[in-house]
Symmetry: C2
Subunit: 241 residues, 2 copies
Amino acid sequence: MSTAAIVVIGNEILSAKVADENGPWLSRELRGLGVDLRRIETVPDEVPIIVDSLRRALASAKWVFTSGGIGPTHDDVTIAAVAQCFGRKVVPDERILSALRAHLGDRLNPALRRLADVPEGSTVDWSPGSLFPVVSLENVAVLPGPPVLFKEGFARIRDRYRAAPIFSRALYFGVGEGTLAEHLDATVARFPSVSIGSYPRFDDADHRVKVTFDGRDQAEVRRAADFLRERVPAGALLRED
Amino acid sequence: MSTAAIVVIGNEILSAKVADENGPWLSRELRGLGVDLRRIETVPDEVPIIVDSLRRALASAKWVFTSGGIGPTHDDVTIAAVAQCFGRKVVPDERILSALRAHLGDRLNPALRRLADVPEGSTVDWSPGSLFPVVSLENVAVLPGPPVLFKEGFARIRDRYRAAPIFSRALYFGVGEGTLAEHLDATVARFPSVSIGSYPRFDDADHRVKVTFDGRDQAEVRRAADFLRERVPAGALLRED
């Protein structure tokens, strides 16, 4: 089963200075790839908390992505946390270091040298023109926080994650969840391989409840939607997609 | 110290059907109230995972907020998870139940009756015209997922959380993090009570790095910003706020 977890690292998100774009964006990408996202944790720039979050992410999903905490300053601690999580040393990657030397010359100070640091044994996706490397260790991929770099980094590695597609259907009802609940319960019990969600609206939407059906078996997803459609009172269903 | 954690509950967010608005919105509210947000976890509609997340939230922060998983259908399991987290039974709240009876009459079926369920010993913020109760147990407040209801529910309880204000300053630089790093390190070492963040830009912003200073002691926050400003090369600072 292809599952994922995201660890978003950054005091700036918890303090609401910046809205996280990477978690929602990667959620959509993973969905498109057929990967089942199991959790997102947003945590501060503190190594022990990040290590704990990485361990939980690895225990709950196959693939783990980190967002943020990459760079040359004191609050960039993601590489150290990933190394600690796997009991590895932090070492300079020679390829990145030579590129930095070539690019920066004698402006390559100790802070900038940190840009070449990786957990020992990492895979480094890097091309000479890149602004930053994408570092992966076992099933953890380390991506930078600025959204433009996050997206560029994920594009370099996304083909690794393609899985069997997830199929979806949705039914939109003009009646409330109270009326639908018993029929939903029966549908959930009958189709255990289909994930069924019920989402009421309290604004001026054209429907009161949207019910979604998700699964890897397209025929079973369709059967679950058909089963519910046939049980609900006539006229309750407004539309479907 | 006034700290908080948010547990966002919902398969619809992990599957990217819906973008979470409540986490970012509550982050901003908490910041305005002077509450230090320590973590956000987004988890599926599964009781054991929610219980685990609640326990971690309670261990890492004083106040815990849940978003979503409230209602009469099979995927609404937040009340059960909060009860389990504290080893309480789920019981009907008589005040909510009578309001449901008055409002729904003989349409009050077993599913809708679940809307009155609360963990035993909860505080219930409810007024007769309310669409939903805000249930709190010890330091956990349970809020509904639809953003319009989430905001209305938080408004009922927000005065509980007001704390000493957090003061902020920001410096904007035209040089990169590599140049700033050693001066940042010195500032971080000198002002341990001030939280200092460094945020590089890789788009067409008017600055290359924004450095932020946050703390409860306004004078110390100002001193930290002054200290960094005086150390960086002349001309590097573009503006401040």
